[in-house]
C-alpha cells in the first residue's frame, strides 16, 4: 500500500511543478464564488453523513467488551496454567474460566458411560461423596477473543443428554462470525493504549472448552473422559 502512496506522491509532485497543477490545485476548473457553493454543499453532505453515522451506529455494532493488551496477556498466562489446575481437581480455584451452562441428571443404576460425539472439548470426571442419585455436568470455557474483543459468549454450550446409562455430549452448532472492522485514522489512536494494538495484531484466539462432570463416589465409569480421582 505504501508503494501506491509513494507513486501517487511522485505523480502529484510532478503535477504540482508542471503547469498542470493549476488545473487541479488552482482554480481553472471553476471560478468565482461557485467553488465556495460547491464546497459548502459538500460540507453539508459530509456533516449529514457524520451525524447519521453517530445515530445508527449504536444498535448495529458488534456486542462484546474490549480487552486491553494487558488483559489479554494475563489471559494467555492463565491459560497455560489451567490444564494442570483442573487435572488436580481444583477447578473452583482456576482463574480465567467462564462457567457457561450446567445440567443435572438423575441416575438410574450404578453405571455411567460418557460418550462425546465429536471431540471438541476436554472432559474431566470427578467422583464426589456429596452426590448420591445425580450427575452434575458443567460447561466451562476460557476466554475467546478476536481483535481484542471478548467473544466468549458467542460460543454456545454443547447439547448434553442422559440416555439410560449413556451420557451423550453432542457438539454445539457451528459458529460463524463475519466481521467488518472500522478503525479511526492514526492521529485518533496515537495517544491511547489502543494505539499499539493494531500493529501487534492479536488476531483471533478461540478459548478451550471443558466439560466437568461430577458423579457419586460409588459409580462405575466407562467411555471418554479423564477421571480425576
Amino acid at each position: 500500500m505504501s508503494i501506491v502512496f509513494l507513486l501517487l506522491l511522485i505523480i502529484l509532485l510532478a503535477l504540482s511543478f508542471g503547469g498542470f497543477s493549476n488545473k487541479i490545485f488552482g482554480t481553472r476548473i471553476m471560478s468565482g464564488s461557485g467553488i465556495t457553493k460547491v464546497f459548502a454543499g459538500y460540507f453539508i453532505i459530509l456533516l449529514g453523513a457524520g451525524i447519521l453515522s453517530l445515530m445508527i451506529s449504536v444498535d448495529e455494532t458488534f456486542k462484546g467488551d474490549f480487552l486491553t493488551d494487558k488483559e489479554i496477556e494475563e489471559n494467555d498466562r492463565l491459560n497455560s496454567d489451567i490444564y494442570p489446575t483442573i487435572e488436580s481437581g481444583k477447578i473452583d480455584e482456576a482463574e480465567g474460566l467462564t462457567k457457561k451452562e450446567s445440567w443435572e441428571f438423575p441416575l438410574k443404576g450404578r453405571l455411567l458411560d460418557v460418550k462425546i460425539m465429536n471431540q471438541h472439548a476436554q472432559i474431566f470426571i470427578e467422583k464426589v461423596d456429596s452426590l448420591e442419585e445425580n450427575v452434575e455436568v458443567t460447561h466451562y470455557s476460557t476466554y475467546s477473543y478476536m481483535d481484542n474483543i471478548d467473544i466468549t459468549d458467542r460460543f454456545p454450550s454443547p447439547d448434553i443428554q442422559l440416555d439410560g446409562t449413556i451420557l451423550k455430549i453432542f457438539p454445539p452448532d457451528h459458529v460463524t462470525i463475519k466481521l467488518v472492522k472500522f478503525s479511526k485514522a492514526f492521529p485518533f489512536t496515537q495517544f491511547y493504549e489502543y494505539g499499539e494494538q493494531i500493529s501487534n495484531g492479536y488476531g483471533m484466539m478461540q478459548g478451550m472448552d471443558f466439560i466437568y462432570i461430577r458423579v457419586p463416589a460409588d459409580i462405575e465409569l466407562s467411555g471418554d473422559g479423564y477421571v480425576i480421582n
Binding site: 458488534f62 462470525i177 467488518v180 472500522f182 479511526k184 485514522a185 489512536t189
Partner: protein, 248 residues
C-alpha cells in the same frame, strides 16, 4: 494627498481575507481528493479469516488512514502551490511585503489545515457509515473514543496537516530559490529509502523524523513538537525566500 499609515497586523488580516477568496481552489482539490480517498478506502484495507471445526470467522478491515494519507499529501502540495511564482506575485497586486505575505500564507495554511481536519473527520465518519451498510457483516469499531479523545484526535489531525503544510512551504521555497532542489529533494528522499532497502535497516533519516512525531504518546508534547517544528520550518522557508525578488 495624505499618506496612509499601515500596521503589519492590519495588512496581514486583509491579505488573509484576500487569500480566503483567491486560494479557494485549494478546497476544490480537497473535495476531489477526499472523494477519491473514500472510494479507495471502500475497497478495504485487508482482512483475514480462519476457524476450527466448530467455528469460522472472516474479517474485513476499514480505516480512515487512506483518507488521512490523501489529506497529508493535499496539505503538502497545497503549500507548494502557494509558494509558486504566480501565487506569490498575487500578493503584490495589492499591499504586501514579505513578512506580511508569509504571515498571511501561514495563517491561511493553518486555516486550511483546520478545514482539512474537520472535513477529514467527517469524511472518515462517512466511510464508517458506508461500511455500516454492509448488512451481512457485524460491525465493530476499533476504539470507542470519549469526547476528549475525539477532540484530541481532531486536534492531532489538524496539527499533522499543519506540519505538512510547513514542509511543503519549505520545499516549495527551496525549489523557487533554486530549481536544482527539484532534483535534490526527491533524490534525498528516495536515496534514503533505497538505502533502507539495501541495508535492510529499520531506520532511515526520513523514517526517524516521522517516528519523532508518530511515537509521541503525550498529546501535549506532540502539540509542542509539531508547533515548534512547523515554526522552525516556516522560519527557514521565510529566510530562504529573502533571496527571491519580491516581484519581477
Amino acid at each position: 494627498m495624505y499618506l496612509t499609515k499601515v500596521s503589519l497586523l492590519d495588512v496581514v488580516a486583509k491579505q488573509f481575507r484576500f487569500k480566503l477568496k483567491s486560494f479557494r481552489g485549494m478546497f476544490t482539490s480537497l473535495m476531489l481528493l477526499q472523494v477519491m480517498a473514500i472510494l479507495f478506502s471502500l475497497g478495504g484495507e485487508g482482512g483475514g479469516g480462519g476457524g476450527s471445526d466448530t467455528f469460522s470467522y472472516d474479517m474485513k478491515f476499514y480505516s480512515g488512514n487512506i483518507i488521512m494519507a490523501f489529506m497529508l499529501i493535499w496539505a503538502f502540495i497545497s503549500a507548494i502551490v502557494v509558494t509558486t511564482q504566480a501565487y506569490r506575485y498575487d500578493d503584490y497586486a495589492f499591499v504586501a511585503n514579505r513578512l506580511s505575505s508569509h504571515l498571511a500564507n501561514i495563517l491561511f495554511l493553518g486555516w486550511a489545515s483546520v478545514i482539512g481536519g474537520v472535513t477529514f473527520a467527517l469524511a472518515s465518519q462517512s466511510l464508517k457509515l458506508s461500511v455500516l451498510f454492509l448488512k451481512d457483516r457485524e460491525f465493530i469499531e476499533s476504539h470507542p473514543l470519549t469526547l476528549l479523545q475525539m477532540t484530541e484526535g481532531l486536534a492531532a489531525t489538524i496539527l499533522y496537516l499543519f506540519l505538512f503544510t510547513a514542509i511543503g512551504y519549505l520545499v516549495g521555497m527551496l525549489v523557487q530559490w533554486n530549481k536544482i532542489f527539484m532534483i535534490i529533494l526527491p533524490g534525498l528522499l528516495f536515496g534514503s529509502l533505497f538505502l533502507n532497502v539495501l541495508l535492510g535497516s529499520e531506520s532511515t533519516f526520513v523514517i526517524d523524523i516521522g517516528q519523532f512525531f508518530v511515537r509521541e504518546t503525550s498529546f501535549l508534547l506532540f502539540t509542542l513538537k509539531v508547533l515548534l517544528a512547523s515554526a522552525l520550518t516556516y522560519g527557514i522557508a521565510a529566510w530562504v525566500s529573502n533571496s527571491l525578488e519580491v516581484r519581477k
